[in-house]
Amino acid sequence: MPATTSRLSPFTAKLLLIAGLLVLLAAESFFGYRLHELSARQEMIKADHAEVNSIAYGLLSVDQWQDEIAGVVTRQVKHFKLTKLQKKELQTEIEEVLYALIAKAEAMVEKKPKSLAGKIRKLAVKTFVNTDKIKAGVPAMARDIIAKADNPEQKAKLSDLAMSKFSDLQQAKPIDSALRANHQLFDKMYRKYQVGSTPALNSKLDHLLTAIRAEMYRYCFLILGCIVIVLALWWFLRKQVKLHTTLFILSLLFAFILLGVGLSASMIEVDCRISTLDFTLLGEHVLFKDQVLFYESKSILGVVEVLIKQPAIDSIGVGILILSFSILFPVLKLSSTGVHLLGRKSIAEHRIVKYFAFQSGKWSMADVIVIAILMTYIGLNGLLNSQLALLNIRSQDLTLISTNNTALQPGYIIFISFVLYGLILSTILKYITPNDAH
């Protein structure tokens, strides 16, 4: 390439370079735009995913508990059983009450009746009723009473009663309207993604997200490819001093696009969920899986937004700091390199311009570091799991809040590439600048 370009006149060479790079720039912009679009789409799908799997429609929803409660009621009422011991105790209890009643009745009869009818009655009772015989019958009577209470038909009746009370409660206004709202939401989601059930919806969303992720990485690597081409061009044209200024200015444009994409595309994906909740409630096995507490993608501006919305002043300070490292410093840096190269000597060698052109680049790395550390603290949190594994405890037996699916996103790679590209550009600038770089 150096051989061919050297044969061309400097003007045509410059024109060719500009045209070629502009095409490349257009390609990069297109890829960046697609990435930005996909990132927005991904955010929306994730929001839907989080909504559908939200803890509010699972663990905390009346809908989900309905079946469990019905099961519990049926089991507890229909299959209500007294143990032998309990039966024995109850038997004694009832017997005692019955004995007491008989004793009372006897005492009443024994009382001296005043009226004639009373006297006749006493006589009749004395003649016909043998209290000893009645007393002997008490245990059998008590057993009958218990058997009556314990009989399946009675229990079925009771459980029906309980169930009807339960469904009355369900049709109570607030619960009913909440349920209706839930169903409406789910219907809307089903229609939106053209599926018929929640599992189908989930698999469709997962499928969409995987597809989008693959596409995002493709555009991400295409963008990086453009940058590599630009850097390769610098290598090929390293002898063509006349073209350097043009090439540098165009390289700066690439950097600006890289910065824009890096800022707006999502950088980190925070996924916080209760992985399993598994227990037995009055004989009913209750199992909730993947209850999403929080599932969102955040661009670096999103992280800044979270920080600035905090009430504490120091968090707001950090938010502003990140904002300045991610926008203010890079923009000033890129402009300063341009100014240093093109501007008048007095401006070009101004201390502030030189600082931003040559020294400021690495501070953007602070953002990269913040995200990386956050990632290791939030996302790659295998501590509890590994401790449990050490003690041979299966972690799915416990209710864990898991954030293990937190992951980095293409925006992060783009932003790192921007920082590194910026550092390389200022190193290049040091070699090609006509001014003093130190």
Partner: protein, 431 residues
């Protein structure tokens, strides 16, 4: 180089200081590791998954409440009155039903005779009047201490039956953890366990301060010595080499000792149930403590390529480059002019600071700490509830650890060294 008496004594003195520094750093490392393992054990055995999030833990606490309710249960006069009314009502109903039954038009002769006899002998109004004494008998019988005990026994066994049907698999896990911890710390109950851990942590905290002071003190002493001897040109090389060794010590120590510790817990949750309190204490929601080397290691050990790339970049810019620069500085100062003027050595010594991001790391860590702390604080304070029936108090124990300060110390120290070297080398060029 001539080894005069002054040089040798200086060498000895500086070696002594360096030895103190190394010893302190070594102890600090050991203490941090011990502290981390203590806190890990503590947070495992007090994990929210084994406590507040466990159905078994709730079952234990609730069945205690029900049992004590049952134990203290007595039929009060008011309840007796209610019971009396209920029984009376039932009995009135029964009598009415029986009377109606008998008074139905009878077809058989026996039935007719029975009806006649009944009506002759029994006055239904009188019968109704007698309901009250009978009901009183029943209530008195049921409320008698003996009967009450019996009923409590029945209810108690029923409660056991029901609670045995509410469980998850945490009990096994909890037993394993508890057994392991008690064996490890030679304690026998949770109170002793928590006390032992807290005692050891307090001890480690004070020791850590001592050794940080030892490390910083030895460096300050070396710097003072340097300042005092700044006019002694022939000693400058020795002093500079030792300064580099101190810097190396700071760099290594700062990167292996934890920098940020995140510790979020629910200090106490008190729920009023049936007039009694259900209490969960010290429920650890989240605990993490990491050194810079740990952060890099975590990033590198992930299966995802992007995480690994970030890990490599941080390793390169924050640990490897600073190390290379220190070595290059050493070579530059020690070796003869020819090597010292070598392009690579000069480049590493003077030009590479743009890529050396130890200083950025310090700012980044500070930002992460403040940001994380702020987010956790607001999230946890949202959990704080002061209610008549429910009281929740949370603790946010997020803090910067000695590693951060030591790494920051390295950055400051390295910056000073660069300044000095720049002055020295420009002086050289003037000569």
């Amino acid at each position: 180089m001539k080894y005069s008496f002054a040089t040798i004594s200086l060498l000895l003195g500086l070696s002594f200081l360096l030895a103190i520094g190394v010893f302190s750093a070594y102890k600090l490392d050991a203490l941090s590791a011990e502290r981390e393992s203590l806190k890990e054990d503590y947070s495992l055995s007090n994990s929210v998954s084994l406590g507040l999030f466990s159905i078994d833990a709730w079952q234990d606490r609730i069945s205690v409440v029900i049992r004590s309710q049952l134990h203290d249960f007595h039929i009060t006069p008011a309840q007796k009155k209610d019971l009396q009314a209920t029984v009376e009502k039932e009995m009135h109903g029964l009598v009415r039903k029986t009377v109606n039954e008998i008074n139905r038009p009878q077809k058989s002769l026996g039935g007719k005779l029975k009806k006649l006899a009944f009506n002759a002998l029994v006055d239904s109004a009188e019968l109704q009047a007698q309901v009250r004494p009978f009901a009183r008998t029943i209530v008195a019988k049921v409320a008698s201490p003996k009967s009450e005990r019996r009923l409590k026994r029945i209810a108690g066994s029923k409660v056991t039956q029901l609670t045995s049907q509410i469980y998850d698999s945490v009990r096994v896990a909890n037993d394993t953890v508890t057994k392991y911890m008690y064996q490890k710390y030679k304690v026998s109950n949770p109170v002793a366990f928590n006390k032992r851990i807290n005692g050891q942590l307090a001890l480690i905290d004070t020791q850590q301060i001592i050794y940080v002071a030892g490390l910083i003190g030895s460096i300050l002493a070396a710097l003072t010595l340097w300042f005092a001897l700044r006019k002694q040109v022939q000693l400058q090389t020795v002093l500079f080499v030792f300064a580099l060794l101190f810097a190396l010590l700071l760099l290594v120590t700062g990167s292996v000792i934890p920098v940020i510790e995140v510790d979020a817990r629910i200090r106490s949750l008190e729920l009023q149930l049936l007039g009694e309190k259900i209490i969960f204490q010290n429920q650890v929601l989240f605990y993490q403590s990491k050194s810079i080397a740990g952060i890099v290691g975590t990033l590198l050990s992930q299966p995802k390529p992007d995480t690994i790339v970030v890990g490599i970049l941080i390793l390169l810019f924050i640990l490897v480059l600073p190390l290379l620069r220190l070595i290059a500085k050493g070579i530059y100062v020690l070796s003869p002019k020819k090597i010292a003027e070598n392009v690579v050595v000069r480049y590493l010594t003077f030009e590479l600071h743009k890529w050396d991001m130890a200083d950025v790391m310090v700012v980044g860590m500070l930002m992460t700490y403040i940001g994380l702390n702020g987010i956790l604080k607001s999230q946890l304070s949202a959990l704080n509830i002061q209610d008549k029936t429910l009281q929740v108090m949370t603790d946010n124990g997020t803090s910067l650890q000695p590693g951060f300060y030591i790494f920051a110390g390295y950055v400051v120290f390295a910056a000073i060294l660069s300044q000095i070297l720049k002055r020295v080398s420009s002086n050289d060029q003037l000569h």
